[in-house]
Symmetry: C2
Subunit: 362 residues, 2 copies
């Protein structure tokens, strides 16, 4: 790490027989420099292996080329990997665009806002990517008020075009799941979801409802609301399948109005449903079809069909959405309404069909 003599703008300028500013221009505004000079300077830059020092640049420009991202504790191990893949794709995309991802943690939203303030004033962090937005999010309000570029992975359920966001069309996902089951021959298709009120949950529920409606299939009594998790999913399945835990004939089950297909709001719930089926001696994929949501690794492992979020595409889109916000000079152009530059993008998920939804209903 001991540099005998580190290459700087000045050292390059000296050897190339031009001024510092010209070297700077070669890198930041090449069109201003005559081609011949440019070549000469570039050659010296190469020879000296010169790399601009970010801190010096930042001191002047107040830009760090850093994007902040809060990493949350892994609550539910099952859903954790989505973040993992997202992080990698985001880092790669940002890197290609000349930005880096810096992580931070915060105990709650208020702490996160304090972290923004800190990161902006001490590190000149250029932008933020938020991952789990919710109703009346104080974070987005703060960022908007302070004119900080940001994009959210997830819609701001409510005020849709207040800021840039990227999201996955959950309704399209559950609807595709229904379509797939209908195509297989299923007629009684249940939905195991979360309590009303969460934007994400309601969205996925709506896709199921619309899917059934499109085929004039019944929805009544086929809709259970539970908290996320494997055990809740199991109880939901138990409720849908009725009291008797002993396996009966397909005919009897059909007569009792039991569902043959289960569309779930998460893989955790779907895993619970699978457990309950197994507990009753019903074979997933044969006696009943189950489809989860998020395509977590566990689902691939046990052959659970699942709605796959295009995580890498989301990450790419996030960086893309940030570009116009980052490029615009915040000072020279007052830009009264930051909403102007806000972009929204809704990506369709893809259904990964596995053994848990391979066969027609019994």
């Amino acid at each position: 790490m001991s540099d005998p003599e580190r290459a700087t703008l000045a050292s390059v300028a000296r050897q190339a027989r031009v001024s510092r500013q010209t070297v700077s221009n070669v890198l930041n505004a090449p069109e201003r420099v005559r081609p011949a000079t440019r070549e000469r300077v570039l050659a010296v830059i190469d020879r000296q292996d010169y790399r601009p020092h970010q801190a010096a640049r930042q001191l002047r420009t107040r830009r760090s080329r850093v994007i902040g991202l809060r990493i949350e504790p892994v609550r539910d191990g099952v859903n954790g990997v989505v973040l993992d893949r997202f992080l990698h794709a985001l880092t790669a995309t940002a890197q290609d665009a000349g930005y880096r991802i810096m992580l931070f943690t915060a105990a709650d939203d208020a702490a996160e806002v304090r972290a923004y303030d800190e990161l902006i004033s001490t590190l000149d962090t250029d932008a933020f990517v938020l991952t789990s937005t919710h109703h009346g999010d104080e974070r987005t309000a703060w960022l908007r008020d302070h004119r900080v570029p940001f994009v959210t992975f997830g819609r701001p359920w409510g005020a849709e075009n207040q800021h840039s966001w990227v999201d996955v069309d959950g309704a399209a996902g559950t609807r595709a799941a229904v379509e797939h089951l209908v195509a297989l021959g299923h007629r009684r298709i249940a939905f195991v979801g979360w309590p009303r009120g969460s934007g994400v949950g309601d969205d996925r529920w709506a896709g199921w409802r619309d899917g059934l409606a499109a085929h004039s299939l019944p929805a009544r009594g086929l809709d259970v609301q539970v908290l996320d998790g494997i055990e809740p999913g199991r109880r939901a399945a138990a409720q849908l399948l009725g009291g008797s835990t002993t396996a009966t004939t397909p005919g009897a089950r059909r007569a009792a109005g039991q569902p043959t297909g289960f569309v779930c709001a998460s893989d955790s719930l779907a895993l619970g449903v699978l457990a309950e089926l197994q507990h009753r001696g019903l074979r997933p994929g044969t006696d009943a079809a189950v489809i989860g949501f998020d395509d977590t690794p566990a689902s691939a492992v046990i052959g659970l069909s699942s709605v796959t979020q295009p995580i890498a595409e989301v990450a790419v889109a996030c960086v893309l959405q940030l570009r116009p916000l980052l490029d615009s000079d915040p000072d020279s152009n007052p830009d009264r309404d930051p909403t102007d530059r806000a972009r929204q993008l809704l990506l369709p998920p893809v259904l990964a069909v596995r053994t848990s939804s391979a066969a027609p209903p019994p």
Copy 2:
């Protein structure tokens, strides 16, 4: 983001009627400042909500208080979550120590070394955390040669005390697994592992071997080597259980010398073993016990016992190991042999017992 007048050392100094340097000392070397002055300055700092500008500091000190971490693409979804938890713990610990985690990606080791060079010269990155080390790792050699502080999660299989590292004692984990099975009454305990040559794999294998030896149990013919993955694990189990795929009586299986316990080098392999058991009509946990390694979410989901790596502790230890390297001034103290400050730490894993290894052998 438009600051009417941002607080700086100078603005604080002015209002506190002291010089810039004194304000700087209050923050960086409080003992040099008389208590009365210190109080006065701190009050002004508070009133102006002053926060030191990192870029300015960095320009002078050449220290960024940033730790770099390469994030690799998620190859195997099953093992991905370990990284996820590690990242969070690392970010939190580093943050408490006044450091931030910056992510980057690289296609291969050579590219990673190039990234180091870039990150050091442009961002003054203070240290790196490496996650998957291997035999003759060019990255650690480069970092050592360039006197860059770093710590690895994983032993440098071979030259053990060349640099700081933190690792989990895999042998202790598989040994604990064996002990657990022996305590349940198992006598024929197989090991499903990877081909010889990988440090991690051999280590886990050794724990199994030693565990059996401690109880004078046979190991012969109970050791299969396959690549990682569910399907290879399944084939390994098939091999260990013999040709016949039809379920036989416990007595017949015992007579045939079939194992009743399976210790695996990864959860993926364990999942394969589970699949093969199920395929043969054998109930995991009842007809045979299975134990995986890494405690990925999938294992909790399906009740697979698994050796749990204390990821959060590893992260805390990584930051702890870096401290002495970071605190030492690289220039003033030539520190001929960086090995001096290297610390090693081997953490014991914990066995998470679940239904797949709950019962005594049939």
